[in-house]
């Protein structure tokens, strides 16, 4: 067993946990939350660097050896820590109460536990913990909360049952019990990621729920992590068919949510459809079972996290400035007053839908090629969903930023410094990642190769 030079993972998680407790009890919660988020970011960055330097294999935490970092989870861990830092820094005052910030830090710590877990039991513990702040109502009460909580708990229960079944049987065993376990895993993923036909709760959570914590929950992509982990442990053949079905269901989600967005006018719901549709591509890519598709999916994971975080943050800060945004009767024309926020929004959105020159383009190019190689119909349908999503994005952009400025919006500030710098970081990553994608691909190639090897993909003819 190889170890990290220092207990970066446990320190990072502990930093978030301590930050949560202090935010809950302290008088000035935001500086505490920001400090703990940046501390954890530093720890996870160092862990990621060590994994990168080590090359192949897992590096265990010397203090708590049931945490580890490898090619698959190291980069998402650092990313997720960065997202947490962005959210707690950028959160408007009304979302930055001690309880809410503590809740966000708990969600973050729990997600990191799920990422870093060296076995499925730790992953399940993290999976459960992410739901706790929502179930306890740390972000306040909102319509549809019971439904969302029900889905989250069912998902946790399904995964727990799956792990229990898996521990009682051997992986190579093709018995009905093993298949039941994989079925439960897939069910848990469908629930958690808001995959069709159970995508409604996520849309409702975006619309009525606390936007930033929901975004944090959504951007954990624990469903994708679980599928990637399941693929990497050499599934039995029948389970691979189950993954194919999951890929098709994810494709249906991508298409259906993109079509649903076409008749939606409320910004939050439109945003939910857009994010859900694009996030479904990750599962589709992981189900393609070839290097291009899997690498594309793993990069798209980073793109969705960054771009959707940017979009969601902008919508939230605009909501705080302009109250009518939740259900606008027409165009809001906010670009006149907030040109920088409009630019950030456009760049993040275009990266999400894969405009050339952004990282989203490279991710989608790989994903489409990979999908077409093994599942031609999937490969042909994905661009359709992207086209609809692009239309949805421009509709959302035009509702928020174009048109005539309402008379009551007299003077609102453009991006404040605490908003500008986190959003600049997102935009810089998306653009420079798109101009020099090889570096980002390098971060994810090891994980993609591992998954591909586990799936036993035959070698194909090279092409340009």
């Amino acid at each position: 067993m190889q170890y990290l030079s220092l207990p970066f993972i446990s320190t990072g998680i502990a930093s978030l946990a301590v930050g949560a407790i202090l935010s809950l009890t302290g008088r000035n919660p935001r500086p505490i939350a920001i400090s703990s988020a940046f501390m954890s970011l530093l720890c996870f960055l160092l862990a990621t660097c060590e994994v990168g330097v080590a090359g192949h294999g897992r590096l265990f935490d010397p203090l708590l050896p049931f945490f580890d970092a490898d090619g698959l989870d190291a980069v998402p861990m650092a990313f997720y820590a960065a997202l947490t830092a962005i959210f707690v820094t950028l959160a408007p005052k009304r979302d930055a109460s001690g309880k809410a910030l503590a809740g966000m830090l708990i969600v973050s710590a729990a997600t990191q536990i799920a990422y870093a877990g060296s076995n499925l039991a730790v992953l399940v513990a993290g999976w459960w913990l992410t739901s706790v702040p929502f179930v306890l109502g740390m972000f306040g009460k909102h319509p549809g909360q019971k439904y969302a909580n029900g889905i989250l708990i069912t998902s946790c229960a399904a995964l727990t049952a799956a792990i229990f079944v898996l521990h009682t049987t051997q992986l190579e065993d093709l018995s009905h019990t093993t298949m039941l376990a994989f079925g439960l895993i897939i069910f848990a993923v469908i629930l958690r990621k808001g995959v069709f036909p159970l995508h409604g709760w996520m849309v409702s959570a975006f619309e009525h729920g606390p936007l930033l914590p929901t975004a944090l929950l959504f951007n954990g992509h624990l469903g994708a992590l679980l599928i990637a982990r399941s693929e990497a442990i050499a599934l039995p053949q029948t389970a691979k068919h189950a993954l194919d079905i999951l890929g098709l269901v994810a494709l249906a989600t991508a298409l259906i949510t993109s079509v649903r967005g076409l008749v939606e006018k409320k910004p939050r719901r439109l945003l939910a459809y857009l994010c859900l549709s694009q996030a479904s591509f990750i599962l589709v890519g992981l189900a393609t079972a070839n290097a291009e598709g899997i690498t594309g999916a793993l990069i798209h994971w980073l793109v969705v996290s960054t771009a959707s975080a940017g979009l969601i943050c902008i919508v939230r800060v605009l909501e705080v400035r302009v109250s009518v945004i939740e259900d606008p009767s027409g165009h809001l024309g906010l670009a006149t007053k907030t040109p920088r926020l409009a630019t950030f929004f456009l760049v993040c959105g275009l990266a999400l839908i894969g405009l050339p020159g952004t990282l989203g383009y490279c991710a989608e190019d790989l994903l489409f090629h990979g999908a077409l190689e093994n599942h031609p119909w999937v490969g042909l349908c994905l661009p359709v969903a992207t086209a609809f999503n692009a239309i949805n994005l421009m509709r959302l952009f035009s509702i928020l930023f174009l048109g005539v400025l309402p008379k009551h919006v007299i003077d609102i500030p453009d991006a404040l410094p605490r908003e500008r710098w986190p959003l600049t970081a997102c935009v810089v990553f998306l653009i420079f990642g798109g101009l020099l994608p090889s570096t980002i691909i390098g971060w994810r190639s090891e994980a993609a190769q591992d998954i591909e090897k586990a799936l036993g993909v035959p070698v194909r003819k090279p092409h340009h």
Partner: protein
């Protein structure tokens, strides 16, 4: 310097200018109009000189085409995205008119948009557009072409919605964007299928020899499918056939952008694509027939509607559409050199007309005075040969712009929206209790 060195520099300059301007704006530095105009003029003069140097070197060395391979943008396993540029007898004239006309339009816009709140934004988008257009015309593969293609598309849409404080430009920009995305879908499918079936999407892999005498390497029905998809993609960019409705809507943008996009460069990108893949199209009877049919029907519709338009820019848009239809037909008939000449001359003439359109009434009065107050009306002769009921019917048809929007809304937009509403059955309805309801419940 050799053309191999000059070509990447030529393309990179407007891209770097865009990135530089964007960064300056994001950090909050104010750039005066004078600095922007001086820099723009200097850069486009430099680009023109670079283009001329490339042309001179090629002519002097008797080189028909120059390929610049810069390796792969990214690679994964056995798939790589090549960055390779090509300049030949087809792309050279288009590169030249791009840099010259974009420079002319940039220079014109300095006065036209003086003190406009969107002055900086316009120039930012103009540089991005030039970069995208140069990438389209010099791409050595469909993969790279589509990158430029989409950049041109998004800048076009952002310029249509340039006057964002008016509802019509916003609505029309959205409509144009939707049309672009649907048309680009055909392009994406063509690229992916080319990779899937033939393991190549580069011009070198798809064709043998230099333009215009190059021959097709792809065969079979798969090649025909790709050809048909590319015809649709080209139709979308050039506002032809089923996508002919967007060009008049695009006239909402500022006049200089209309000139450079819809008179000069952007709309000709579709025709350029057809010329580039011309052997592939001619090997498929379906694709050839489609190009000719789409071109001629659009030209007919365009010329009819053009005659009934009340405003100058819309009239010019339909006139452009007519000429592009004819260029499509010429490509379908195999008159490729003629089509290139037609494209270049049309681009130059139309840019001039668009740029003069704000002062058209003044021009007309001057010509009217110079002619001694008498100008004989032109046209109207061939129409008079038709029976009166046919004339009336055609007039109504032209006045309704071929009822294109009504047909599109009835048979495409409405069913898709209906399906979208139907899909709501999978989403539970969350009822929001009002404060009064909550109080009532607590009281009970």
């Amino acid at each position: 310097m050799s053309p191999q060195t000059l070509l990447p520099i030529l393309i990179a300059i407007p891209g770097l200018l865009f990135l530089g301007f964007s960064f300056i704006w994001l950090v909050g530095i104010h750039v005066p109009e004078r600095a922007i105009s001086s820099l723009t003029k200097a850069v486009y003069a430099l680009l023109t000189i670079l283009s001329a140097m490339i042309g001179w070197k090629m002519w002097q060395g008797g080189i028909a085409s120059v390929r610049v391979s810069m390796g792969d943008w990214f690679t994964v396993a056995d798939y790589g995205f090549p960055i390779s540029l090509l300049i030949d007898r087809l792309s050279f004239p288009l590169v030249c008119i791009t840099v010259i006309l974009a420079g002319v339009v940039g220079s014109f816009s300095v006065r036209y948009l003086h003190r406009d709140p969107g002055f900086y934004r316009f120039f930012l988008l103009l540089h991005l557009f030039t970069f995208g257009a140069l990438l389209v015309f010099t791409a050595d593969s469909l993969d790279l072409l589509i990158a430029g293609w989409e950049i041109v598309g998004i800048t076009s849409v952002l310029l249509i919605g340039f006057f964002q404080y008016r509802p019509d430009p916003v609505r029309n920009a959205l409509r144009v964007f939707g049309t672009y995305r649907i048309a680009d879908l055909f392009m994406l499918l063509a690229v992916f299928l080319a990779h899937h079936w033939f393991h190549t999407a580069s011009w070198g892999g798809m064709f043998t020899g230099d333009w215009p005498g190059h021959s097709n390497n792809l065969d079979g029905s798969a090649a025909a499918v790709i050809a048909v998809l590319l015809v649709f993609a080209a139709s979308g960019k050039s506002s032809q056939g089923p996508f002919c409705g967007w060009l008049p809507r695009a006239m909402e943008g500022p006049t200089p952008s209309s000139a450079v996009f819809y008179g000069a460069i952007s709309v000709h990108a579709g025709a350029y694509l057809l010329l580039r893949v011309e052997p592939l199209i001619h090997d498929s009877k379906a694709a050839t027939g489609m190009v000719i049919f789409i071109g001629l029907t659009t030209a007919f519709l365009g010329t009819l509607v053009h005659r009934t338009c009340a405003d100058a820019k819309t009239s010019l848009a339909y006139a452009s559409q007519t000429q592009l239809g004819l260029i499509f037909a010429e490509i379908g008939f195999g008159w490729t050199t003629f089509a290139v000449i037609h494209m270049v001359s049309h681009a130059v003439l139309r840019t001039l007309q668009f740029l003069r359109s704000p002062s058209m009434l003044r021009d007309y009065n001057r010509v009217h005075s110079a002619a001694g107050g008498k100008i004989n009306p032109t046209g109207g002769y061939y129409e008079s040969l038709l029976p009166l009921p046919v004339q009336v019917w055609l007039y109504r048809f032209a006045l309704g712009r071929g009822f294109y929007d009504a047909i599109l809304d009835r048979f495409i937009v409405a069913p898709v929206k209906g399906l979208a509403r139907l899909l709501a059955i999978f989403e539970p309805k969350v009822t929001i209790k009002t404060a009064a309801e909550t109080v009532k419940k607590q009281a009970s």
